[in-house]
């Protein structure tokens, strides 16, 4: 078991190094630093100013280690990313780390309730629909799920803002406050939208898992033993269905930290999602780079978590 975890960790490290290489190729070789500088300083910036800017941001060094040795951009890129020294933003020279620190709180305030409510709601709904499989309730449930899946998130957001925020005036359309007593009013609407937007797909996925499990031989055995349908669902089916569901769920946990791009920027929540959107709009490559790197770090971590939780739930993995 321990070697298994350690092996997953090693594999994760290799993947992170791969991600860094990919980012380097993408952001340093495929993009011209002059371009980045001009976008930051304006089209008409003087060559000298651009050169100075490039020197400040470390864009003037040789790309590859066989040219520049330890001073090359590749080595520097790996060194800084691996030591979490993200440097300054390309656009306004603010330290990226500070921004990240400020952004995590609001992001979590949005994503955690969204995640918990969404998960519970979709599992309960899926169990309900699966319990009535092959009846009208089931067919209606699936139909609604497909309808919900076909709607763009943008439409969810715009619709909710217009109907609930503007017409009904239940909650403010956008904004944020650090004080939790006030903040919940701002968060209610985005959480609602976030839950609604992912509900359709999740319910359908979980339902499929449940329905497939209910067709298995051990369920028949349980029935032959005299188990009630409720007990079969809760004790037998749910435990087995947890295995695929866990993969789905645990992997989502790390992304709670990176926040939601769309919801945050639409609802004016100053989290990491908003930060990223600002970076995109301002052509801030260094921030974007950092976000992708952090995202994949979290993903790799989530994958290892999934593997461990797999082993915890499934005795076949745990005991092999």
């Amino acid at each position: 078991m321990l070697t298994y975890v350690v092996r997953r960790l090693l594999h994760g490290c290799v993947v992170v190094l791969g991600v860094l290489l990919f980012l380097f190729l993408l952001f340093f070789t495929l993009t011209d630093p002059d371009d980045i500088a001009r976008r930051a300083l304006g089209e008409k910036a003087l060559p000298a100013v651009i050169a100075q800017w490039k020197a400040n941001h470390g864009y003037d060094r040789p790309l590859w280690p066989w040219r520049g040795g330890r001073d090359s951009m590749l080595v520097e890129h790996y060194r800084r990313m691996l030591t979490f020294d993200f440097g300054r933003s390309d656009t306004d020279d603010a330290p990226i780390v500070d921004r990240l620190r400020h952004g995590v709180g609001p992001s979590l305030a949005l994503t955690v309730p969204m995640f918990v409510i969404g998960l519970l709601l979709s599992i309960v709904l899926a169990l309900f629909v699966a319990f009535f499989r092959e009846t009208y309730i089931d067919r209606m449930g699936v139909l609604l799920a497909v309808l919900a899946m076909s709607l763009s998130v943008l439409l969810y957001i715009i619709g909710a803002q217009y109907v609930i925020g503007k017409l009904l005036r239940w909650f403010p359309i956008s904004g944020f406050d650090a004080d939790p007593r006030v903040a919940w009013r701002f968060l209610a609407l985005p959480v609602l939208v976030g839950v609604a937007a992912s509900l359709g797909g999740d319910v359908r996925f979980y339902r499929t898992v449940f329905v497939e499990e209910t067709g298995r031989d051990y369920v028949r055995t349980a029935r032959a033993k005299g188990c009630g349908e409720g007990r079969i669902m809760w004790v037998h089916v749910l435990r087995n269905a947890m295995i695929p569901i866990l993969t789905h769920v645990v992997l989502a946990v790390p992304f709670l930290f990176t926040g939601s791009l769309l919801l945050e920027s639409f609802f004016g929540i100053p989290g990491l999602g908003s930060l990223t959107v600002d970076a995109i709009n301002g052509n801030d490559f260094s921030t974007l780079r950092t976000m992708v790197y952090l995202g994949s770090l979290l993903f790799v971590g989530g994958q290892i978590l999934t593997d461990i939780s797999y082993a915890l739930v499934d005795p076949r993995v745990r005991l092999s």
């Binding site: 952001f27 709607l151 763009s152 439409l155 217009y162 791009l261 709009n281 974007l288």
Partner: protein
């Protein structure tokens, strides 16, 4: 050769390829069964998809001339599609509500009173035309991206699954590296670096979406490789390449179709998000929705722009999702009932 004639050729080529595939498919029992079943189970959804495809085709064939541009030299040399020609010259100065005969804000009389079924946008363009033109963009996003992603994924997945060892290690590494980056961020980064052209956006979408199918193809190949009929072929001295082409790939085709249909809606939705970030494709519904968002906060609100694009997008995705579900049900070996 001019751009428009080249694009016509591409459209014709694609159309021909599609028809050939359809004809080949009809010859095979499995695919014929899929057609029949689809027609029986989801006639409406099929019809809707066919409608969208027709509109997209009407908007894809373009040529220059034949339209009175009123002395505008630039407009004179602009290639126009069939769709453009149907709506030629129906431009107003600014917003007008659906079927109105006066401008929405200025109350000036319209040139075509009651002629705009879905009203006009800020530049006075007919919203119905814009919405219909969006169909081509949506199908382009789904189609072109799949055309890049699926063969790529098939190539890597099948070779990794069939030969295993080093090739598998390599493919697996690339897959896990790509999969570990947050999809949306990677997509955005790619578009920012590659530029914002249609091909670049499709390429970016392809890079972020091929991993899922590659993983699936790899796993399936792994299973198929152990099947008795592949072993029998090896015992018969059939070469690896022939086994791949005759046994492995044909038995993955149902997955290709399922993936294509299921991927399609995801791609169109992703493009909508890209559009909202200003990185989308010109003329897509995503872009229309993005622009209409601000118009909704005007007073009185302009709602028809948003409604038209939203409904068009929703209807297409709904139809595709329904078709996709049905295709999967028909093709999924677990639900398929072999007639005996």
């Amino acid at each position: 050769m001019q751009l428009w004639s080249a694009s016509n050729l591409v459209v014709a080529g694609l159309l021909l390829a599609g028809l050939t595939l359809l004809l080949i498919g009809r010859r095979h029992r499995l695919w014929r069964e899929v057609f029949v079943q689809l027609r029986r189970r989801r006639p409406l959804a099929l019809l809707v998809v066919a409608g969208y495809v027709t509109v997209a085709l009407l908007d894809s064939v373009r040529w220059v001339g034949g339209v009175d541009a009123g002395g505008d030299v630039v407009a004179q040399h602009e290639a126009r599609s069939v769709l453009d020609r149907l709506f030629a010259g129906r431009r107003e100065r600014s917003y007008s509500a659906p079927l109105a005969d006066r401008e929405f804000y200025g109350h000036a009389p319209l040139r075509h009173p009651g002629g705009h079924l879905l009203g006009t946008d800020i530049l006075g363009r007919d919203v119905l035309l814009l919405t219909l033109k969006g169909a081509r963009v949506a199908l382009l996003i789904g189609g072109l991206t799949s055309l890049i992603a699926i063969p790529l994924a098939l190539l890597f997945g099948v070779s990794a699954g069939y030969w295993g060892r080093r090739i598998d290690d390599g493919v697996f590494f690339v897959m896990s590296t790509l999969a570990s980056m947050p999809t949306l961020l990677l997509l955005i980064a790619l578009v920012m670096v590659l530029g914002r052209s249609t091909v670049a956006v499709c390429l970016a979408l392809a890079v972020t979406s091929w991993v899922g199918f590659c993983r699936l193809a790899r796993g399936e190949t792994f299973k198929l490789r152990e099947m008795d009929y592949v072993q029998a072929a090896r015992a018969l001295g059939v070469s690896d390449l022939r086994i791949l082409l005759r046994h492995i790939v044909p038995n993955l085709m149902h997955l290709v179709v399922i993936t294509f249909v299921l991927m399609f809606s995801g791609l169109v939705l992703s493009e909508a998000i890209l559009s909202w970030l200003g990185l989308g494709i010109e003329g897509s519904w995503g872009q229309m929705i993005d622009q209409a968002r601000d118009e909704l906060s005007r007073d009185p609100a302009i709602w028809w722009n948003l409604a038209a694009a939203g409904v068009a997008l929703f209807t297409l995705l709904l139809a595709v999702n329904f078709v996709g579900d049905a295709v999967r049900d028909i093709l999924d070996p677990r639900t398929r009932r072999e007639p005996t």
